[in-house]
């Protein structure tokens, strides 16, 4: 329990550091949001007036304090370009991106574990070279390219789904999932092959250890030695890897959303960056960082459950 509290403490500290980093990064930029909002009509007077209106003429620290206080209450400020509260603007989009990311990680886990186990068990056979080669190739396909290939093959040639015809999860949850499975798969694809490779490598490394010999000396079958002894030990590094991968998967979903026309955080993040709509950008980045940090916490706790050697 104490361990969990301590972890949550560092989590909050990290998030505070992240929010400071994000906020101050945007307060040092040369071009002011008022200028970009006014465009060609900008005069010194109008800029000053708008700055005052938006509260940008006050000291940075005061604004940071207010911003953080607002976030605690679930208020991320008001978007410059949409003139609506950021919270309202993002709420549905967060759900979409999170749905996509969680689906991608689930697909990764569900497919990579059996595949990795199969490949590890077959590592003595002639098929090994074939598996390794295919795996290495899949690992090298960036998710946005595999996304394009999936659109081409499954969408346009096989007509399994209609690219661009995303259905909101609010209207029809299952149709939405049926659409998201394709982008989720293209995010998951390189991760699956990485996990397969890692699982195989660690399983082979574990198989050389002394305790495996002990297990054989007690008359266990090869299969029992693998499933009862080697596998659990081999999975520990994989859990660490999955924890680090969640960040990548979130970033990957931002890109892959563009391939499949999924209205998640990705598109609004990109338009807000080019439109210099900082409250929106700040909110999205902070939210995604939170997702990453929280997932790391979950992995830490899982890790403790798996490995008794980790002390509180």
């Amino acid at each position: 329990m104490k361990y969990v509290l301590k972890k949550i403490g560092t989590l909050i500290l990290t998030l505070l550091a992240v929010s400071a980093l994000v906020f101050f990064a945007f307060s040092f930029i040369p071009a002011s949001p008022a200028l970009s909002k006014l465009g060609t009509e900008a005069t010194a007077e109008k800029i000053a007036e708008l700055n005052h209106q938006m509260g940008l003429d006050r000291p940075v620290l005061v604004r940071f304090g207010e911003w953080v206080a607002g976030i605690v209450h679930g208020d991320f400020g008001i978007s410059y370009s949409y003139n609506t509260p950021v919270t309202q603007l993002l709420s549905e989009k967060i759900a979409v991106t999170m749905l996509l990311s969680v689906m991608a990680i689930l697909i990764t886990v569900i497919l990579s574990f059996p595949l990795g186990i199969y490949v590890a068990r077959k590592s003595d056979s002639k098929l090994d070279v074939f598996f390794t080669t295919v795996n290495q190739m899949i690992m090298s396909i960036p998710s946005f390219f595999s996304g394009i290939l999936i659109t081409l093959i499954f969408g346009l040639i096989l007509h399994v789904f209609t690219p661009g015809a995303y259905v909101s999860y609010k209207r029809d949850f299952f149709k939405c999932m049926a659409y998201l499975i394709f982008p989720a798969f293209s995010i998951a694809l390189p991760k699956i092959s990485m996990v397969v490779k890692l699982l195989k490598d660690t399983a082979l490394k574990e198989a050389d250890k002394d305790y495996v010999r002990t297990a054989y000396s007690r008359g266990n079958r090869t299969k029992a030695v693998f499933y009862k002894h080697v596998l659990k030990n081999a999975i520990i590094p994989v859990i660490t890897f999955l924890g680090m991968t969640f960040a990548d998967i979130i970033a990957g979903s931002i890109i892959v959303e563009q391939v499949f026309g999924v209205p998640g955080l990705g598109r609004i993040l990109l338009t807000s960056i080019s439109g210099r709509d900082y409250p929106v950008v700040e909110a999205i980045i902070l939210l995604l960082a939170t997702a990453v940090v929280v997932s790391n916490l979950i992995v830490d706790l899982l890790y403790k459950k798996f490995d008794p050697r980790i002390h509180v």
């Binding site: 980093l21 946005f144 390219f145 290939l149 990548d248 970033a251 890109i255 563009q258």
Partner: protein
């Protein structure tokens, strides 16, 4: 069993792929078959032929020429990014690992906060501040790559610093600077070699991804990622417009990852 044979094959295939990429890069620097920006409406969506070996895009521009320039761009950006990451990473990692104390404490806290970001997201943040374009992209990815290098270097410096022979050299009265430059930095070689290769791969991936999002090279200039996103709207009628640049990206990543696998020392 035949691990060494496996490594040999990986090395040969990896080197071949990287060699082809380097040839493409050199061609991209010195001579492309066509001007990559020249539009030729009569060749709009021209198919694969001896004249245009990868066909032409919606403006009749030669895709092969654009791919060559794209490879040059990607290589240049990735190499610079890895250089920035390694250079700054070595400085931060060495100082924090060697001296420790509050500098270490503060810098590593910031480092951890930055590491909580996926590198693409961090690069997007920096581009949000600096605006788009190749220069911003290099700076953005460079910053995004520093923390991982800093962490690796710091870990290694910490390990080496506590080895007996460093204590011994210190007893002889060597200065900190001498210990760092003569005794510690050269020992980082092996760790750095593999992380530079892996970092380069990640940089290629990030560069292509950022360009795909339109956050780097500005049109009409070509880059591999940008070509992919431009070709996406015509994917059904002209799939080759997307497939060729995509395959070149795959080739780059595959080549460098095979090389880094083959060069990795047995642990």
């Amino acid at each position: 069993m035949d691990n060494s044979k496996n490594k040999k094959i990986k090395f040969i295939v990896g080197l071949t792929l990287v060699g082809i990429i380097f040839l493409m890069m050199i061609a991209g620097i010195f001579c492309t078959p066509y001007d990559p920006l020249a539009m030729d409406m009569s060749a709009k969506f021209a198919g694969v032929s001896f004249k245009h070996i990868m066909g032409c895009d919606n403006f009749g521009r030669d895709i092969f020429s654009r791919v060559l320039v794209g490879v040059r761009e990607t290589m240049f950006v990735s190499a610079t990014v890895v250089f920035i990451g390694t250079f700054v990473g070595i400085i931060i990692g060495t100082v924090t690992g060697y001296f420790g104390g509050w500098v270490d404490e503060i810098l590593m806290r910031i480092n951890d906060a930055v590491l909580a970001f996926p590198s693409v997201l961090l690069a997007l943040l920096v581009i949000g501040v600096l605006g788009g374009g190749t220069h911003s992209l290099i700076i953005a990815l460079g910053i995004a790559f520093v923390p991982s290098f800093a962490r690796i270097v710091r870990g290694e410096v910490l390990r080496i610093r506590n080895l007996d022979y460093i204590q011994c050299v210190r007893l002889y009265g060597a200065s900190h600077l001498r210990i760092i430059v003569v005794h510690i930095l050269p020992n980082l070689r092996t760790v750095l070699l593999s992380s530079v290769l892996i970092g380069f791969n990640n940089a290629v991936l990030a560069e292509a991804g950022m360009n795909y999002l339109g956050m780097g090279t500005q049109p009409p200039n070509p880059s591999l990622g940008l070509m992919l996103s431009e070709a996406q709207s015509v994917i059904f009628t002209n799939p080759w417009n997307a497939i060729f640049p995509g395959l070149v990206i795959v080739m780059m990543i595959l080549g460098f990852s095979l090389l880094s696998d083959a060069l990795e020392k047995k642990s």
